[in-house]
């Protein structure tokens, strides 16, 4: 125990008497780690924000019926495939219903699945918004608003009014902000919608919805599921889409495939819908890490340099320590511990610096229509970044200190003592 103490004492004295180079070396590490923490917090914060922007509006699995031609045309059933060649002109899509068959049992099945966080029914309808004699084409989606609030961040996109208001009002509508602007409407006003078949219904605007994507905001409205079923004149089991949210997003592709087979519906999973998204995140992470590693390597060279010079300067001291009974290992320990102390001090300061810079960036105003809930730049305060940062500081200083320390271990005291 005393052995380590005396070695550390020598290391400390070396560091304290050469405060200038100690500080320089530590600052190198501080800036490296500080930059790493700032970069990685900011980059991953941005990544998460962008992910939220797209992914949270997309269900993990989307079930619906698609209008498409039959895979098997009648003629192929009639003729033996190998004996004949057939050509069918102007194939028409198969006559089928838009609604999902047995939607409620499917919903029930999904809700009982432990891997599913929740499943919500939707009814998507093409309608016209009437403003005087002007008809604006658009979509009206019937939703179970409180389930949507629980499973997605739709609440963030309701810029006026509340989801509860829609839940409480049988004939309420959440109108797209673009639509409202076009028609000079605001919360509390009435709007008339007309179905494709011509029936006209009055609805009360209980709130405004803004996703930040203009193409959606100019056409979209939300109303209660029952309300839309009533407008369309369809029964209570008429549901065109089911959105599924899973506990583990990675299970989406497998599960989509399974649901497709089980219920004979179309099922798309989130990866299929947003394949390009991961790539962007990966590249941003790659940039962050390569910049940080470069900074730390530069800091490592600084430490290597300073320790090398220190060892040349302390040649006589090393010889005398060895002559009075300190072993090569002891001497190596003295210098490695100096490197690690520099790494630790610089690293911890770097974490602080990184944290303060992150806080600073976190406070800078950043407002965008696309993200009504975001007011400042996003920062990800993941404690893992701090653990990784400190480990990296210690690792790089250890490597930088090891080579000079190993040289000190090998110094032959006889040569030094005789040489002078």
């Amino acid at each position: 125990m005393t052995r380590w103490k005396v070695l550390l004492e020598i290391a400390r004295t070396h560091l304290l008497t050469r405060m200038k180079s100690t500080t320089t070396a530590s600052l190198g590490v501080t800036f490296g780690i500080g930059a790493y923490i700032t970069l990685v917090s900011f980059m991953t914060g941005l990544n998460r924000m962008l992910d939220d922007l797209i992914l949270n509006q997309t269900p993990h699995i989307h079930l619906y019926n698609e209008i498409e031609p039959s895979e098997q045309q009648p003629v192929t059933l009639y003729l033996e495939p190998e004996s004949a060649f057939h050509v069918v002109h102007s194939v028409k899509p198969r006559q089928s219903q838009k609604k999902i068959h047995n939607a409620y049992p499917i919903l029930q099945y999904l809700k009982e699945d432990p891997a599913v966080k929740g499943a919500t029914p939707q009814l998507r309808a093409q309608i016209f918004y009437l403003s005087g004699s002007i008809e604006l084409g658009g979509n009206l989606t019937g939703i179970d608003i409180m389930e949507e609030v629980r499973l997605s961040n739709i609440r963030d996109y309701i810029i006026e009014g509340t989801p509860e208001a829609l839940d409480n009002n049988e004939s309420g509508i959440l109108l797209g902000a673009g639509l409202a602007r076009k028609m000079s409407l605001s919360t509390g006003d009435r709007i008339q919608v007309s179905t494709v078949k011509g029936a006209v219904f009055p609805l009360k605007i209980v709130g405004l919805y803004q996703s930040g994507i203009a193409d959606i905001d100019n056409v979209q409205g939300f109303a209660g599921l029952k309300t839309v079923q009533r407008i369309l004149g369809e029964p209570r089991n008429y549901i065109t889409d089911i959105n599924v949210k899973l506990l583990n997003i990675n299970k989406a592709p497998a599960m989509a495939l399974q649901l497709k087979r089980l219920f004979k519906v179309k099922a798309t999973d989130i990866n299929e819908a947003n394949a390009q998204f991961e790539t962007g995140s990966d590249i941003r992470n790659l940039i962050t890490y390569s910049v940080s590693v470069t900074l730390l390597i530069v800091a490592g060279f600084g430490i290597y340099n300073i320790l090398n010079m220190l060892i040349y300067e302390k040649m006589k001291d090393i010889a005398i320590l060895k002559a009075t009974g300190f072993s090569g290992g002891d001497v190596q320990f003295i210098f490695i511990s100096q490197a690690i102390i520099i790494g630790l001090a610089g690293g911890i300061l770097g974490l602080l610096l990184g944290f303060m810079l992150s806080r600073f960036i976190d406070g800078i105003a950043f407002e965008t229509e696309a993200l009504p809930t975001i007011t400042t730049y996003p920062i990800n305060y993941n404690p893992w970044f701090y653990i990784i940062g400190l480990s990296f500081a210690l690792l790089s200083t250890f490597i930088a200190g090891f080579l000079p320390a190993d040289k000190a271990r090998k110094i032959d005291p006889v040569k030094i003592i005789r040489g002078s």
Partner: protein, 224 residues
């Protein structure tokens, strides 16, 4: 009388820059309480011999015994331990750690040995300094004291672990006659009062003649 140090047929070659037979069949021993000096012309190999005897140089043939124990071929760790415990060293140049205080310099080998508590070591160190009449320097930085004082601090450091033998490589070579005399009388006193063995390399004939025994080296051979 007990033999502290025994050299048995020690040979050493320098390989660089040209092959050279430095030490030829060296055989002698040092007894407890003996004050011996090694004399010889420049290049006769006297310092080389001392570094072999001090266990710092391990590149030789033959055998070296310390308190009747074979030292030759031991690991470097073990040899460091032997130096720390049993050998005190005084050099021509004073070789103190300039960033540490005088007291810390003296205490360092004892801290490395780690057999005593900090307070005991500090007490011992101050005793040694008192014995050498330099206890008033204890708190000074090693770089702030004079050459003669430095050499006495180095002696105090060499004595801190109560070694079996004190070795000196021209310990007075860099000192004026007053300080040389001072160092000599300290050595004499250590031998007489504490029964310490001493082995000193010197080319100062006056110094050597006052020791118990002179080991004369000529061209790498003991001639007397």
């Amino acid at each position: 009388m007990a033999v502290v140090l025994k050299a048995d047929h020690i040979d050493k070659y320098f390989k660089k820059p040209v092959a050279f037979h430095v030490l030829k069949d060296i055989c002698f021993d040092i007894k407890r309480g003996e004050f011996a000096s090694i004399m010889g012309k420049s290049g006769s190999g006297k310092s080389t011999l001392l570094y072999i005897l001090s266990t710092m140089d391990t590149d030789y043939t033959g055998a070296l015994y310390f308190n009747n124990e074979l030292v030759t071929g031991q690991s470097h760790e073990k040899l460091s331990g032997i130096r720390n415990r049993h050998i005190g060293f005084v050099f021509q140049f004073h070789y103190l750690l300039s960033e540490f205080s005088v007291l810390e310099n003296v205490m360092l080998p004892a801290k490395k040995l780690g057999e005593k508590s900090y307070q005991e070591i500090e007490y011992d160190a101050i005793e040694k300094l008192k014995m050498l009449h330099i206890d008033h320097l204890a708190k000074k930085r090693a770089s702030q004291i004079s050459g003669g004082e430095k050499q006495r601090v180095a002696i105090a450091r060499a004595l801190i672990n109560n070694p079996s033998i004190l070795m000196g490589d021209e310990p007075t070579g860099n000192l004026d006659s007053y300080n040389s005399e001072n160092v000599f009388s300290i050595f004499k006193q250590l031998k007489e009062e504490q029964g310490l063995s001493l082995l000193v390399v010197t080319h100062d004939i006056d110094f050597a003649e006052r020791t118990d025994r002179i080991i004369q080296l000529e061209d790498g051979r003991v001639v007397n």
